[in-house]
Symmetry: C2
Subunit: 369 residues, 2 copies
């Protein structure tokens, strides 16, 4: 297998690392009575999804209507669209459901519950709704103790539209230790358990109780009453996850292959043909700064102290530390850049050059809405 | 024309503003004896390029080999590939040149000049080379006074490979006033004039002397000895350009159409269906902070004090200031977000919904390398 034949920049996916990462989370969750519902928004690849899901009937999560369409078309039949629904998207949701897909939509307001109910009445149909629960004040969702929860639950349940609860601990990305992540994982589970028991007291039963983020999925335990766990980045991993301690940098399956295209002798800079267009503008989280990504050699080994310090559209700049000379990196040298945030870096590319021991493959990915 | 029929998020391009912006730079440069060589990397759209160039024989600039291929295939015949060349890309460059395209490549080292010369000898061909000049220490290029300039010029010129000089004042983005931009524009021109005269003293004549960035193109004057000016963002403009004073926010032709998909009542937040996937992670320049973009109403008028304060992959959060109530923005409300950086935001989308008085059109764009 020679990377030298590849156009640069391009996105590499190390298949062995991918499968190892997938296996790790599966093994962890196998200890508990809970199912994994992988989030497919990171890789957006049908080929990758086939390794993340047991079969096409296994549950999965997506973040756009385009993902719903693409994965439904690829035969996947149990999809949660985990972004708050707008009225405008309901006709397409119904179309896809009518193709035989079990589709769960998400909402967190009485207003949304009302228009979903009205749409179902008008169309003589049922849609499966999950109520989003806010477990950490980071984004959307109804707090478990908010009286609105009961009002939304009632209008849905009384019309046969209620399936359960979903929450996402976005706060797990701000943790400073594994113990903090474990605490957030408990907080995430407690929020939906609390909401479920408040609804249960009103005779509203939650068939689905869904939690998840990669850190809380990897480190959470117990999972009592929780029916499923969602995670996306776990398959590829990235520097944010390595920084949080959820994986090691050598577990990261994704990297951007780039070539040295110039030297700034005065400043001891390498110029790469991977700028923000190939790496994304994502700089990770404030407490863990690797510029625009850690630099590895062609074989994928991290070169200590080297990161992409700044980027333009098609240029990356690596400032060499003292003692490291430009002559070690002749123009044309291949390097790999580990991504800060896999979702963002992968989104800049049309597909993956999949590398395994002796073979190379290409897996397309899609974007759009 | 109803925006309500559009899927959100999507990218809007206001055709009237686009044409006005294009006209403005053309009018400015018409005062001088210099030609515009538009940079097509911002919009990456053949349809848009037809409005930026007089005809397919007019000069243009690109930043990737994929752009070279796409624009050559669309019939454009005078293309500068303005990113330092690597040896690996030369066979494709020659292929495209052999299709009848005048193609200029860029280099800034003796090493590159050597491998281009060797390639031309091996293939019995000539390639047109520009030497990149460093005018502000921001990225790549040879400083005008660096003796390497003469060495590179000589190996190219003696083999019939030398066409001229190119520089880019990336520093113009860091300016705090229009007068500073004007000073940088002079510095940019002086750098290549200086380099040209040093080469000229060695009987090496520069047929092309190319400068440019949108700020220095819009505000530069004189342009003595300069043969061409490059600019890309000028056609669409963005919040960085508005912040620099190069345009007004109402001149920005590009915006992301989004819908309100939720309310966080406790925090007085709007949740939008445009996150970083639709807006990009680009936060502009440090001195001009509009979060992830300024918020406009459906008609495109800026709503004072509103910007997208934070983003997740498919969620944008707008924190409403005191006195502005969530009830003004019912779930389903259409809003437009002005981009910090047009190149980055446009790159997140597959095409433009082009709006003019009564019509809508769709212009595809491409990505990749």
């Amino acid at each position: 297998m020679s990377l030298n034949a590849l156009h640069t920049p391009c996105l590499l996916l190390d298949k062995k690392k991918l499968l190892t990462n997938i296996g790790r989370l599966n093994t962890h969750l196998a200890q508990f009575d809970v199912r994994l519902r992988p989030h497919l928004k990171t890789l957006k690849s049908v080929d990758a999804a086939r390794y993340m899901l047991e079969d096409t009937s296994a549950p999965c999560t997506v973040s756009t209507l385009e993902e719903v369409k693409q994965f439904a078309q690829a035969g996947f039949t149990d999809i949660t669209y985990a972004v708050g629904i707008s009225e405008h998207k309901l006709p397409e949701i119904l179309d896809i459901q009518n193709q035989g897909v079990t589709l769960h939509i998400l909402l967190d307001s009485f207003e949304q519950a009302q228009f979903v109910h009205a749409f179902c009445q008008d169309n003589g149909c049922k849609l499966s709704c999950l109520i989003e629960i806010d477990c950490d004040g980071k984004r959307a969702g109804i707090a478990p103790e908010d009286p609105q929860l009961i009002a939304v639950g009632k209008i849905l349940a009384s019309n046969g539209l209620y399936s359960g609860l979903l929450t996402h601990a976005g706060g797990s990305y701000d943790c400073n230790s594994l113990d903090e992540i474990r605490a957030i994982a408990q907080q995430e589970q407690n929020a939906v358990r609390d909401a479920a028991s408040r609804l249960s007291a009103q005779q509203i039963d939650s068939a689905i109780i869904s939690v998840g983020s990669t850190p809380t999925a990897m480190l959470g335990d117990g999972f009592e009453q929780i029916t499923e766990v969602r995670a996306g980045v776990y398959a590829s991993m990235d520097l944010v996850m390595a920084g949080l301690g959820v994986c090691r940098s050598q577990d990261i399956a994704l990297s951007v292959l780039t070539r040295v295209i110039g030297h700034n002798r005065e400043k001891n800079w390498l110029i790469l043909d991977a700028g923000w267009m190939a790496l994304s503008r994502d700089t990770g989280i404030a407490s863990l700064q690797y510029g625009y990504g850690l630099v590895c050699d062609e074989a994928g080994h991290v070169i200590p102290e080297l990161c992409v310090n700044s980027v333009n559209q098609e240029h990356g700049i690596v400032a060499l530390p003292e003692g490291l000379d430009l002559s070690h990196f002749a123009i044309g040298t291949l390097l790999r850049i580990l991504p800060n945030h896999a979702c963002a870096t992968a989104a800049q590319h049309a597909g993956y050059q999949v590398i395994s021991n002796d073979e190379m493959d290409y897996w397309p990915r899609f974007g759009g809405w």
